[in-house]
Subunit: 213 residues, 2 copies
Amino acid sequence: MGKISTSAFSVSIDGFGAALNQSLDNPFGEGGMALPGWMLKTRMFHAMRGQEGGSTGVDDGFASRSMENIGAWIMGRNMFGPIRGPWPDDSWKGWWGENPPYHAPTFILTHHPRDPIVMEGGTTFHFVTDGFHAALERARDAAGDLDIKIGGGVSTVRQYLRAGLIDELHLAFSPVMLGRGETMFEGLDLPELGYRLIETAPTELATHVVIGR
Amino acid sequence: MGKISTSAFSVSIDGFGAALNQSLDNPFGEGGMALPGWMLKTRMFHAMRGQEGGSTGVDDGFASRSMENIGAWIMGRNMFGPIRGPWPDDSWKGWWGENPPYHAPTFILTHHPRDPIVMEGGTTFHFVTDGFHAALERARDAAGDLDIKIGGGVSTVRQYLRAGLIDELHLAFSPVMLGRGETMFEGLDLPELGYRLIETAPTELATHVVIGR
């Protein structure tokens, strides 16, 4: 059985995983686009966009590993898009265009049912309305022996951490101070939940931290 | 007029500046002694204890600068000692022995009056019972053209930050996860208060972050 992990998840130095006021123009909230700055420079990210070049050091190592061996994704509805409430129509298919970077069945936690969307490149978006445990079961069935990635956002990751269901969490602390936003740690006692710090790796663009059980 | 700063202030990756349950054996709370781990290895800290050796890189640079040009210190009562409530007697003179590392007038915020204590090496502990603004005025008079250092702990630093009275804040994020403790950032919107990130410098032992106005 594959492991369940969250990887390449960027956090501000003051502990926010997303800024406030997410919108079509600001997928990470207002001012939040600086959070994944370290990743945008990696060779992995360049390759994902069909571009040459990019950094090949520690940042790229973490970015590349974050996309390996994945059999299924789980994400919160706000990571899928800026729409809140019932789906107005079927036009929104995620931020990523016709060929999303997931290339695997992707289970989206939502209160609002919707038919699956088959995208190019192996990604199918499934909408799960019966809770995060149900989403994990479906992801397990879909992933087989491969790993399950909890993609985000903050509240989804926290929900799985609180239930002790994430085996490994890789955070990248970016040199960004947000002041407000979606808090990663507030009220979440990871040592109490059985988690411990496994590895830290600082680079010029981020301090990578790996937390596990 | 000198600047007002807090320097070499260690924070866990999950944002705590101290662990809980401070006591005589645990000045940083239970499990908190790992917080200043980066500093204990520096040449500055070795020299402060009259020892040879210690690291001479970025960590030592930050540690050394944190002790330069200081005309007065301000600290909270819990940084001075583990005693709570009225002083039982005059026996407690801080954690540091007869020659504390401050070498300047040091103003301690407390609700409980006490006569000043003249220590060796230029440190005199003054006990200020009329608030943090009054302490700053007295520190300014004492410091002359030199700088004022707000030494800690967490709640004292936050109090001065919230009032916009700290010019520069140097935090060192240590590879430690506490889960609970005294939160550095919760409910404190530094950008809103006019602060911004000035510098980050990662090392193997800490990620140094300088915040200013």
